[in-house]
């Protein structure tokens, strides 16, 4: 089978599997967050933590809860990393250096999982499990909670209450992430991924050399890393390591896991607002962008990257590609990990062709809404949908409405603040890195490619993706600090504006649809939303893309 057919077969299999899960999983997610009853284990957690599960929070209290929870989490993960050598299951690892420990703590609490270290040579088992893996569950649950609170903004009226943050997070972990992660872990173990607490073994190879074989609870971390759109690998080479991703079956299963919840969330949205067609419209936008990105990267990697005998014989650009998965396995994975906020990789993104890598960068710059990170993709696309109906309303001279709520100047201010935050953070940090000696000292590739590497690094961190282009010395203190700040601001500032918008919507009374209301369930609206997304991102990042990706690709 040639690589093009193999790629499309993988895509078709993924599409079929995700389509089959769309309704049942989406309905289940909706039921989790609309259920009036608390499970016994949940009641135990609330009692232990002194939480009143029936308290309804104002949107600003919801935000304060997120910030307080995340602040404690950053400090806790930092403490574990800095003291791991004296704790148990350190497997001989030294305490993590302060800059790496802080960057990593910010990274995992924000669902980014940007890694400036080699996991198997830096983190002990306790740090991996109690520090990083716990945050892979919690940060994913926080993202989903914000999305659900945002949806409540559309369904509630004459109130500023958006639900209970602690209940939403607890339910997300107990009812959704833990059960799916257990299933995912078992499938990965069956596929050959390792899961143990064994010490590292040093063996003598047939050639007489010595090799250290690491262990770890790899399958369980791999499972939540993908289901929660986290992306932080146990090993330095992430999902290209055979202990994490042993074969083509586990490779496609991993891609399936990282797309599963984000693609099912629009169904939950449709279910909660009582109009499933609204969910279909949003998921159609997501599928269109994802499919175009897969097609684009596959095309560039198999047609424009074939200079040289080796690449021609292999039918594609093969530098940095894991030979067990081939070019199709790399292209589908690279797109799926960047359109979600996962950031896990099975091939080297820095080795993608200029335009192939450019699409990966664009996927991230889109704000990761196709389908986006767990929860984050949902509230991101809802805000862009409000912008779209506002633009449509300007065209016909009517007050725009979305899901029965008017989109007035106040709502547009929240939306504008939301989608301006990330470009401001990304372009400011990239500009500072290019314009200062500290930033320049770590740029190993000057010229257009170096610019793309810097842009990719800050876009990835601000959008909480976590994948890297490499070629940039991000372990330098400058990038550890600016990166950590970027991740924290990129995660929580947009959530403040999203929940502010939700609060504003919740205070409104519903507006019945009239003859002049734009129907947001039609192909016309789907096309408009795709257009608005591409134009907004294109206008924002075009200068940087022109100097980086286009200059390199057209050279």
């Amino acid at each position: 089978m040639n690589s093009t057919a193999a790629g499309w077969l993988q895509f078709a299999l993924l599409f079929a599997a995700l389509a089959a899960c769309y309704i049942p999983l989406g309905n289940y997610i909706a039921r989790i967050y609309t259920d009036k009853n608390h499970w016994r284990v949940e009641r135990g957690i609330y009692k232990l933590c002194g939480i009143d599960p029936d308290a309804d929070m104002r949107w600003s209290v919801y935000v304060r809860s997120i910030l307080a929870f995340s602040l404690v989490a950053v400090l806790f993960v930092y403490l574990i990393e800095r003291t791991q050598h004296w704790l148990f299951w350190s497997v001989g690892m030294a305490n993590v250096t302060p800059d790496t420990a802080w960057n990593t703590a910010a990274s995992f609490v924000t669902n980014t999982n940007w890694q400036n270290y080699a996991g198997e040579a830096t983190m002990g088992y306790l740090t991996q499990m109690a520090g990083l893996m716990v945050q892979q569950f919690m940060s994913a649950a926080v993202g989903l909670a914000v999305a659900i609170a945002m949806i409540r903004g559309f369904t509630r009226s004459r109130t500023d209450r958006l639900g209970n943050f602690w209940v939403d997070v607890t339910r997300g972990v107990i009812r959704l992430l833990l059960p799916l992660a257990v299933i995912g872990c078992l499938v990965l173990v069956a596929g050959g991924a390792i899961e143990n607490l064994a010490n590292y073994h040093t063996i003598t190879t047939l050639a007489g050399g010595h090799q250290t074989i690491p262990g770890g609870t790899v399958a369980s971390q791999e499972s939540i890393k993908d289901l929660g759109n986290n992306g932080g690998g146990w090993f330095n080479t992430n999902a290209a390591h055979p202990f994490e991703n042993p074969n083509p079956f586990t490779n496609i299963f991993i891609i399936f896991m990282l797309l599963l919840i984000p693609f099912a969330t629009p169904r939950a949205f449709g279910k909660i607002v009582g109009d499933n067609k609204q969910g279909y419209a949003l998921v159609a936008v997501m599928v269109i962008i994802w499919a175009c990105a897969v097609g684009g990267v596959s095309f560039f990697e198999t047609h424009l990257g074939t200079a040289g005998t080796a690449a021609q014989l292999a039918h594609g650009a093969t530098e940095g590609v894991e030979t067990r998965f081939g070019q199709p396995g790399c292209s589908v994975f690279a797109v799926s990990t960047t359109v979600t906020s996962t950031g896990s990789v099975n091939c080297f993104h820095d080795s993608l062709t200029p335009f192939g890598g450019g699409i990966a960068l664009m996927d991230i710059a889109l704000g990761e809404i196709a389908p986006g990170g767990i929860g984050a993709g949902m509230y991101g696309i809802l805000i862009l949908a409000t912008v779209t109906v506002f633009v449509a309303g300007l065209m016909v001279g009517r007050t725009p409405e979305y899901i029965g709520k008017k989109i007035r100047p106040a709502e547009m201010k929240y939306a504008s603040l939301y989608f301006l935050t990330l470009p401001v953070v990304i372009l400011t940090m990239a500009g500072l890195s290019i314009g200062t000696k500290q930033g320049q000292a770590a740029i190993f590739n000057p010229g257009p490619h170096g610019l793309t590497e810097i842009m990719y690094a800050f876009a990835s961190q601000a959008n909480n993706n976590g994948s890297a282009f490499a070629g940039l010395g991000t372990a330098a203190t400058w990038y550890q600090i600016t990166g950590g700040i970027t991740m924290l601001l990129g995660r929580f500032a947009p959530e403040i504006f999203a929940l502010g918008l939700a609060g504003s919507l919740a205070r409104q009374k519903p507006t019945p649809a009239s003859a002049g209301t734009l129907d947001t369930r039609t192909p016309l609206f789907v096309g408009m939303l795709v257009g608005v997304i591409l134009i907004l991102v294109g206008l924002t990042y075009f200068p940087a893309l022109a100097l980086g990706v286009f200059a390199e690709g057209l050279h």
Binding site: L71, Y117, A468, F497
Partner: protein
């Protein structure tokens, strides 16, 4: 994705809080304080 390869043969560092620890704890608090200020600004805008 990871960008720095560390050594397998590592040793523990001495116990004690360094200036860098204080710096990063302080930086964390500052960043969250900025986020809280943004929240307060939005609340003022809301009123």
């Amino acid at each position: 994705m990871d960008q720095r390869q560390a050594s397998f043969t590592t040793r523990g560092t001495s116990l004690g809080v360094t200036v860098w620890d204080l710096f990063y704890v302080g930086l964390t608090i500052v960043v969250f304080a900025v986020l809280l200020l943004i929240l307060k600004g939005v609340e003022r805008f809301e009123r």
